[in-house]
Amino acid sequence: MNLILASIAVLFLSSLVSLAVQGKPRIAGILGACGSVLALGLGIVPAVQALMGSQFAPLAFASSMPWLSFSMGLDPISAIFLVPIYILSGLVAVYGTGYMKPYAEQKNTAFYWFFYNILVASMVLVCVARNGLFFLLCWEVMALSSFFLVAFENDKVEVRKASWIYLIASQLGTVFLIPMFILFGNQSGSFEFSSFYNCLTPAAATGCFILGCIGFGTKAGIIPFHVWLPEAHPAAPSPVSALMSGVMIKTGIYGLVRMITFLGMPPLWWGMVLIAIGALSGILGVLFALAQHDIKRLLAYHSVENIGIIVLGIGVGLIGISTGHQTIAVLGFAGGLLHVINHALFKGLLFLGAGSVIHQTHTREIDHMGGLIKKMPITALTFLIGAVAISGLPPLNGFVSEFLVYMGSFSGITSLEAETAMPLAGVIASLALIGGLATACFTKVFGIVFLGEARTIQLDHVQESPASMTVPMIILAFSCVVIGLSGPLVVRLLIPEVLAIVPISGPFVFDPSEWLVNISIVASGLVVLIILGAGFRKFLLSRRTVGQTVTWDCGYAAPFSRMQYTASSFAQPLTDLFSAFLKTKKHIKVPADYFPAQASIETHTADPSNERVYRPVFAQAVGLLSRMRALQQGRIQIYVLYIVVTLIALLLWKLR
């Protein structure tokens, strides 16, 4: 526990120090990154120990404010979220030293490092806080520091707009969390988490569940509360996107899981609600991702999809608890929580890869890119590993967690009654559809960005990013492979964490890691087969003529790079098929006359929950609130009158 405190102290200290040396951006960057890396070294030790089952005594510091106490604790549930937070923030900080270098001339990068380390510290604190008010305090520090990071390039209009949307969305989420904690505090008589367990009446528990789903779901980015993700991620600097998407949105999942442990025995419909939310977020998330051609916006929608998969896993787990089936509960929670770690690794990797590409090409438009694999081989290879992993394909880590959720659902449909088995069958079908669509989406991104010929960008000045940026990506890609091949070991680490959530009556008999041993064997076998096949191919081609030519374009004499398929044309059959949800707007200028000189097509897919839910609601709110302007006359006399009236009213109330 002391090491966690030390890591938080280091983070705060380095954020202040980097602000103090803001005149020298290079030093500020190095000191800032050192803070995160040092925190990684300090904090990872107790976090892993907690995962292995070590017990840590809770800490508490009293405060002068009523109800608030700075109590902290470390248990497996916290640890599972702390591990990716420490790892990713350390790696992203190293990446940031390279990424932020070009900004140093125009902007004060010391502010970046200041808020970056505050953000990391606040995420750690959110996971270890054991007091409702303290939790909310850290939650707000997290929201604000990430707001300033999103708004880093605040000289651009669209960045300012996006960061406001982010700030308002995260505040709206908190609006639902405050009554939830008040309910808890009211019924238990204290804001300490330790007093929250099973303190609620069933009605209050239902209320808390709904409030928590909305409040934490807004941070996590479940549909329809996801509106800030596709706005904030393209606006933020890429390392910030990686950190926010990789770990910050997971604090929403942490809150959800922590809340579930307080509520006691869940009714069956909670699990079904979570499955419905998860399926909706997963399928719509990946569909909207498919329709995007801004690489970071696309990745942001994929975060929505992956949060959907995590929520599906938790939903399966809850159904397992409600129906008393240990196997289903353990598989569901283990799958969902392993996906938390996995998504942090591959989504962090993909955002860093996207950042590396944007850094070189200065555009986020996928349709302008192409052929980058020849100039940026390391970025391409690591991005490919991330793309295969996020599509949930073996032998990488995404497959392991999706496999667990699949198996939870499969064992559910074979052992449960039809009414409870049907939602689980829905989980299977949704995961299959999500998997297929994710493959479509990531073949599109990788194929269009890195393969083929460059479309409109100039490749001459493009080169591989510096080692400070590629090394973190290599480490992340490597860990995706390691988890993919060593599933049973990782899942064994997860068992204490799952046991902390699943109230198991009787002995713990089911161990999902036994099933994963087989997955590891076949996945390793697959790798061996690929290597053997490559050797065989090399043997066949040795001492034979291997020629080079142009791509066969059916005899057309002058193929050029603009004739290639683009990301939009690649996704068009699917976006047309699902146009009922996507409502993609097309602006087409068809070729006219006998010798057409010009034609163009532009597509834009707006977010319907933004267009149809948030915008009308906010328009109404603005309409109502503008009536309040009558109070704001701008004349000092009137304001003085308000003060006098208020004071008299208070006096009368006191005298009464």
Binding site: I413, G436, G452, R544
Partner: protein, 306 residues
């Protein structure tokens, strides 16, 4: 008892080699069936073997646009096909690597293959291959849920979670099995790029999917691609045969494998007949066909949960 288990595993290994050896023959049977329907003599049954051997002995030509992805994809595809072959059961012989949840691995390893085939097509920078890749991901994204719902039905009927146990556990000719088999046959035709989804005969029309994606391959790489496609035909076929041809557990393993092989030949004949009597449906109709298959699978699942 132990000798029986050993015999079973021996047959699992033998099935691997039988699959390796006979998979291209199925393609030959399909082609011959089509020829007979068209009133032609047709190519010899062994023509696919001749083609592959010839390709393996040739050099290769690559486009300057391509990168290592293009060269790696056929190898990854072959490895994935072999992995799938090791999982699928044949007759009474379980898959060589049969374990709880192998059905998920089976479907996803085919997904990995598709991933690489698609990015290899995009690697050439050709509009034709991009078009094929785009259609491939569209149709497979829709076929995937059908496959999973079909397998979920079989899992519910038998209460087991590995393909080998599931297929061994099926006994009665139930209505559910007919529905699942119909749905899986549609998936089989779609995944193997057969009519009515794709026309394996055409090379240079805008109608095809799989053939156009591999347009730039030559030499051993093309041989790998053709051979893995034949293996895919075999593994998905073995799955359907396993579900539709219920075998008595008391049957000797060699006899059950014989029946399963007969079933495979019938499936190849059926595929050839479908290709001869049907036209390729319009691309816009393909999702409807897959949705219909999905509806069949969902009906089967609901029946199985009674």
């Amino acid at each position: 008892m132990e000798t029986e288990i050993i015999a079973m595993y021996a047959f699992s290994i033998i099935h691997m080699f039988v699959g390796f050896a006979l998979a291209p023959l199925m393609i030959g049977i399909v082609n011959r069936t089509k020829a007979v329907f068209a009133g032609r003599t047709g190519q010899p049954f062994l023509q696919p073997y001749y083609d592959m051997v010839k390709l393996l002995r040739k050099g290769a030509v690559y486009s300057r646009t391509t990168s290592w992805i293009f060269r790696a994809a056929p190898v990854v595809g072959l490895a994935c096909a072999v992995a799938a072959l090791a999982i699928v059961p044949f007759g009474n012989a379980p898959g060589l690597l049969s374990f709880e949840g192998d059905l998920v691995f089976f479907a996803y390893v085919l997904g990995l293959w598709r991933f690489f085939l698609v990015i290899a097509a995009l690697d050439t920078g050709s509009a034709f291959e991009g078009m094929g890749a785009s259609r491939e991901v569209q149709f497979s994204a829709m076929a995937e849920p059908v496959l999973f719902v079909g397998l979920a039905t079989v899992a519910t009927l038998t209460g087991s979670l590995s393909l080998s146990d599931m297929i061994a556990g099926l006994s009665l000719p139930l209505a559910e099995i007919v529905l699942v088999a119909a749905a899986l046959f549609v998936v089989f035709l779609c995944e193997n790029a057969r009519i009515p989804f794709d026309d394996p005969n055409t090379h240079l029309e805008l109608t095809m999917i799989h053939e156009v994606m591999v347009l730039d391959y030559s030499g051993p790489d093309l041989g790998f691609v053709l051979y893995s496609a034949a293996l895919k035909f075999w593994v998905l076929g073995a799955l359907i045969i396993g579900i539709t041809v219920p075998l008595d557990e008391g049957l000797p393993v060699w006899a059950s494998c014989g029946y399963a092989f007969l079933g495979m030949v019938m499936l190849a004949l059926l595929t050839g007949i479908v290709e001869s009597v049907m036209a390729r449906v319009r691309l816009l109709r393909v999702p409807q066909l897959l949705a219909a298959a999905g509806a069949l699978a969902i009906c089967a699942l609901i029946f199985s949960m009674r």
